[in-house]
């Protein structure tokens, strides 16, 4: 046995709601916090499954989010529905490359990066690939931190829809693509939420033990 003792090995878990140290009943992985009644897991139940499910959902939903128009700006009775990409292109064509960059990052880069980051983590853990836990933790932190910023677009759309309603002169209508896009954002946030970062360390520990065992076997002969 190397390193400091682990809470898990002592049957101890901290409640993530009220931070009460809870002794897990024998042989159980999950229980309720005796103080606040919150769910206490040694590890998130089905974390990998849920995360996988949400990540796949988000990946599929990227298709409608990019094909369907996000919003239609009708100015003097004329207007063409624009998708996210075409909106970015329009902004870029208009010379507003700064805003185009922001929209591109928030609406396309961030969701895709989130999904890619999560998939990387999941694959590493699921298939017990060698991983550097500090790097993995960094990826996880970024993914969970930037997720909400993708909602910037949706805020903008909802504000525009509410404000720009001048009848025949100018009108902004949200398209079905925005719903899909919102779903992508929510689903990726949920995926990040259900991903239990302790699994990274479990995988790391497991690997270390395996290597140690292999080393020990080699040493012991």
């Amino acid at each position: 046995m190397t390193g400091p003792p682990k809470a898990r090995e002592s049957g101890l878990t901290s409640c993530l709601c009220c931070h009460q140290l809870v002794r897990m009943p024998e042989g159980e992985e999950s229980c309720r916090c005796p103080r606040c009644g919150g769910r206490v897991h040694t590890r998130q139940v089905g974390s990998l499954t849920l995360t996988w499910a949400f990540v796949i959902t988000g990946a599929f939903l990227l298709v409608p989010a990019n094909i369907l128009p996000v919003m239609t700006v009708i100015y003097l009775g004329a207007g063409e529905p624009s998708t996210i990409i075409s909106g970015v292109m329009q902004l870029y064509d208009s010379g507003l490359w700064g805003i185009a960059l922001i929209v591109f990052v928030a609406s396309i880069a961030v969701p895709v990066m989130k999904l890619v980051g999560l998939v990387l983590l999941l694959v590493q853990i699921q298939f017990r690939l060698p991983l550097i836990p500090l790097q993995a933790m960094q990826v996880y932190r970024v993914v969970s931190a930037i997720g909400r910023w993708s909602l910037l677009d949706l805020f903008m759309i909802s504000i525009l829809v509410a404000l720009v309603d001048m009848g025949a002169i100018a009108e902004v209508a949200a398209g079905p693509g925005s719903t899909a896009f919102a779903t992508v954002v929510v689903v990726t946030m949920l995926a990040a939420r259900f991903f239990d970062p302790r699994l990274i360390w479990d995988a790391y520990d497991a690997r270390r033990e395996r290597e140690d065992a292999v080393e020990g076997a080699v040493r012991n002969g």
Partner: protein, 779 residues
Amino acid sequence: MAEEFAREGVLRRSRGLPLVWLLPLTAALIAVWLLYREFTQGDIRVTILFPSGEGLVKGKTPVKYSGVDIGVVRDFRLVPNAEELGGADGVLAEVDFNRSAEYLLVEGSRFWLVKPEFSITGVSGLEALVSGNYIAVEPGSGERQREFVALAEPPAHVRGEGLRVVVKAPRLGSLNRGSPVYYRQLQVGQVENYHLSKDDTRVEIDLFIRREYAHLVHRGSRFWNSSGLSIEGDISGVTVNMESLAALVAGGVSFYTPESQRHSPLAVDGNEFKLYESFAEADAGIPVTLNFDRGVSVTPGSTQVLYQGIKVGEVSSVKASRNMNGMEVTVLMDPITDELLSENTRFWIAPPTLDIASGLSDLLKGNRIEVDLRRGQRSRRTFDALASPPPRDPRAPGLHLRLTARTTGSLQRGASVYYRRIPVGTVQGMKLSGDGERVEVFVVIEPRYAYLVNNRTRFWNISGLRASASFGGVEVEADSLMSLVRGGVAFGSPPGAQESAGPARSGDTFHLYSSREAALEEGVTIHIALSDASGLKEGSPIRYKGVQVGEITRLRLGRELESVRATAKLYHRAEHFARAGTRFWVVSPQIDIDKVENLDTLISGRYLALEPGGGEVQLEFIALAEPPTPGLADTMMRPGLTVILDAPRRGSLAPGSPVYYRQVQVGEVTGFALGELADRVYIYVYIEPRYRTLVREHTVFWNASGVDVNFGLMSGLNVHTESARALLAGGVAFATPEGPNMGREVESGSHYPLYPEAKPEWLRWSPKIELYGSTEPAK
């Protein structure tokens, strides 16, 4: 140990969540379905060749059908020398079509660019103004096609169901595609297209009538070009008639169905109609050609043809006749006149006449053509029309009379005939008599007044103004305002004629006198020889004691050019004046140093005065050069006293020179004459009756003319004259001695010597003599 701080967890079982896999499944289904749709129902790339790329915007210009975007222009490229455009350069637009519009992309489909268009007929493509130009499509039916050539102009075809008929016109006029078609000023359709007929002689205009109005078009309907406007002026206002402002400029077609054609079958697609030039023409009148021998003022479409005041036709066209010697006016006559258009029918232009009865509106309507419709043997369609009304119109009921006159003055057709200032008839017309000597005036007296005319009736002209001016003012007399404008004829009968004379019959001829006096007075015509007629004119009056007793009717030079021979007429009762001894002279204004006379003749003109004689009837007279001075005999007859002064010289005395007594004028010098032996001058002095007692047997007369100037060193300058007037005009003064020396009163005719000057003692005489009559102060 850590365990002491830890608390035991509470166990609570819950099911697992395999349902979470439904989420990616759903998302996958959505994504797959979308991708499938994207690939199977994506846009169709089609190329359309435009003659010009004007108004096309890459990525913007949509293709619309039924108001829905079905595609958008993605790109263009230039096509040099496009075969489809006859070798001209074109612009090939690549258009992405919505897959739902695939059925439109077939052979026969036509594309054209819609631009906002503002025209008088309306605004079309207004939506293109804000949304930009767009490409419109009209579906065809045929094989699949992916390459099209756009039309240069929108097709004229009107979408929708309706009746399509063709009208044929010689000219297109201002009609255009989209010009409205009106029925009772309601737009029921539009001009769809127009083209030349096959033989190039006419224009065929395709009309589209909307389905809901198609039942209005019968086979017997009439179409006419309603372009332009008509203005009808009337005393009650001005009516501007036009189908609409759009029709005014862009033209329009109107139609209606005559009553008689209401039962004709309904028109069907492709029926052909004639397009008339105007409503009037469409009215199916009988075209009648009137040949005028001179230009007349008639207006096509507005000048009416009237029969007895009822409109029976309208002028439809006016043009110069073929040989350019007159006008050819085509009128459309009401079909009911068909049988009456015979060789006996006459047309003439009737200028507007001012008549209170018909009102001012008649005047404003302008010329009209009148027709006298008569049945005849042969039907005619061409007439020689008169540029002026015929002088007589036997159709009018009443007593028709013919008046002959030397001139008619301002008498006009339509003037009234008055009897005691009541209009009882009208002047129908007038013409020169055959020999050109006289004018014949045709009048008709209304039947109910016909009894007023008998064969002794006199007619006279009351046209114009008669003005008489005097110091009392200027009197202008006209029988009525109407007679002032149009002249008039009045008539009357001598007293007693009503009973004795027989009634007049139609066709009788009367003389038209120039004035009432001429008509009713039995005058005597005399001739007066004048040495100078300046200031006299025809019509100058002849007066006796200020009363007009006649007038000069004619002035002309005598044969030897030495005198003027005036023909004058003395009114009846004035025969007394046409006697030997009657003297005539010209009264003219006299402005003299000593008097101003006959000033009124300055205004009223000179006139002849007469002094009646008492001899035999005489008709030839010689006028005096100046007013006759009353003879001595006359003077003797006057009340008052006339004495004769014997003077060696006349001095500056003249008739009218004053006679003073104590510097008060009491009489005047009436005349003078040489004595029988020419050794002296007799001066006749007339003393007014009031003062006759002043003259006594021993009265002395002296010449008071001139100035008596005494000059002395001590007394200074002493100028003495009887009066300022006597200074210039001369004068006579007299004095009578006092008391018993004065003698008795004298009779007229007494002689006195006229001393050249007064002795001083005469001036001191102051007899007391009682004057006749009142004691009013002397002038």
